[in-house]
């Protein structure tokens, strides 16, 4: 059984699944639109939560938040189900396929057989769509892949029941109601306002303030923990920033694409200018990643290198703060 489902490769898994599932329901929204309306741009620093032996940084909100927020703002209803028993989870998925419903799943990436070895980590907030079952294998549309793939029953069960932080517990979701008339303008405005609110939040763990905290910590790590540990922490920062198209630079570019689309829909030229501004900031994030990579390769052995990285990141945080303030006033 193979449902009529179009696979589109996207930069980020959650937007991609959302965009692909909605397209299947007849609603054509680009990946950047979902990302922008769902307020996907984010930054959080969790110094006490260790992931892969480094502090937790995240350039994205909690898994599922982008699609949930976007759906709420567009008036779409999504059904979400979790199962304590893996067999029930499989049955429910098969029931959906029989009813012609392509279904989104939250999965862990460690056991995703088609991923390159280096991407297999105990990270449980990946998303994909199951769109059929043939010869005992589930047909998989993983939005970060160029092509569609498949997983056996036991392989799929493994990734749906991955353990560790944020376990999926068989989590599956699918849109059950899409309104006929969608107020895109209102949804876009809400999405933008929420992003500005988060990024300018007056708490040290979130948004621009969190970026500054990380930036100021870089030289302190070097002092207290030595360069090896610091480099590993910085590596974590790049991986979170740029892993499979997500995070720092990548996310800013998706947001730039969103603002460009939004400027046409809202007939607001200011957003077009701001799109260029966030694109330039995205470029700076990428330059920052290159600077960090250079530290690894020890091409830059200047003793104040960590001070400089810290300064660069503080500078980006300043630019971002100015950007969100302008954006808030532009709508």
């Amino acid at each position: 059984m193979k449902l009529n489902f179009e696979h589109h490769q996207t930069a980020h898994c959650e937007n991609g699944v959302a965009s692909n599932l909605l397209l299947n329901k007849g609603l054509k929204l680009s990946e950047p639109m979902i990302f922008g309306i769902g307020s996907g741009l984010f930054f959080v620093y969790l110094p006490f939560l260790k992931v892969n032996f480094a502090p937790g940084f995240s350039y994205r909100p909690m898994p599922g938040a982008i699609f949930s927020k976007a759906a709420k703002r567009l008036g779409i209803k999504i059904k979400r189900e979790k199962f304590s028993n893996p067999k029930d989870a499989q049955k429910a998925l098969e029931r959906n396929l029989e009813q012609n419903i392509p279904t989104g799943l939250q999965v862990g990436v460690f056991n995703l057989t088609y991923f390159p070895e280096e991407y297999k980590f105990h990270f449980n907030a990946h998303n994909l769509v199951v769109y059929g079952k043939e010869e005992g294998n589930f047909l998989i549309s993983d939005p970060v892949m160029d092509y569609v793939t498949s997983l056996s029953e036991s392989e799929l069960e493994k990734v749906r029941y991955a353990k560790g932080a944020l376990p999926p517990k068989g989590h599956m979701y699918y849109p059950i109601y899409v309104p006929e008339n969608i107020n895109l303008e209102e949804a876009i405005k809400k999405g933008i306002k929420d992003t500005c609110k988060n990024m300018l939040a007056p708490v040290p763990l979130i948004g621009v303030k969190a970026m500054r905290w990380v930036a100021r910590s870089i030289p302190k790590w070097a002092e207290k923990k030595g360069s090896k540990v610091t480099n590993h922490y910085l590596g974590q920062l790049i991986r979170m920033q740029e892993e499979i198209g997500t995070g720092g630079g990548g996310f800013r570019f998706i947001y730039g694409a969103f603002l460009q689309e939004a400027s046409v829909i809202l007939k607001n030229d200011q957003l077009k200018e701001l799109s260029k501004e966030i694109t330039a900031i995205g470029d700076l994030w990428r330059d920052f990643a290159v600077d960090i990579a250079r530290v690894y390769k020890n091409r830059n052995s200047k003793s104040n290198i960590y001070q400089e990285l810290s300064k660069t990141m503080l500078h980006i945080a300043d630019l971002e703060e100015a950007f969100y303030k302008k954006l808030r006033n532009a709508i």
Binding site: Q9, P116, G164, Q236, G249
Partner: protein, 134 residues
């Protein structure tokens, strides 16, 4: 980032025959998407992380050989796990798992407990028991 500036470096994506999508701007500053085979800066970060894991695996192996650590530590590292992840896979408290890291304690474990670990690592109980790090 301009479309023509998108790096096309050789990367880990190649092993899975993958590319990644990025949002880039064209000559008129309009957004579009383009595929990339990889980027050196990101590869450096991934390589560093893999190297660290590799080191940890080697250390664990040595510690098992020297009878400082139980095979559980080695297979935990081999599966890129840490204590919280492993504890969650075997469904035991972290402090209990930690005790099983000791070779002496490991030898007293029941088949049922060993089976939980073996399943978490995707190996047989014998493979787990007989690993000597040499």
């Amino acid at each position: 980032m301009k479309k023509q500036d998108l790096p096309q470096d050789e990367s880990n994506l190649k092993s899975a025959n993958m590319t990644e999508v990025l949002y880039v701007t064209d000559e008129n500053d309009n957004y579009t998407t383009a595929n990339s085979t990889g980027w050196d800066a990101k590869k450096a970060a991934l390589d560093e992380s893999m190297e660290l894991i590799h080191e940890r695996i080697q250390d664990a192996k040595q510690n098992v050989a020297n009878n400082i650590a139980s095979p559980i530590v080695y297979f935990m590292e081999l599966n890129k796990m840490d204590l919280p992840v492993l504890a969650s896979y075997v469904g035991m408290w972290q402090w209990r798992v930690k005790r099983h890291f000791k070779p002496g304690k490991f030898k007293t474990l029941s088949e049922t407990t060993l089976k939980k670990y073996a399943d978490a690592f995707g190996i047989s109980v014998d493979e787990l028991k007989n690993f000597d790090g040499k």
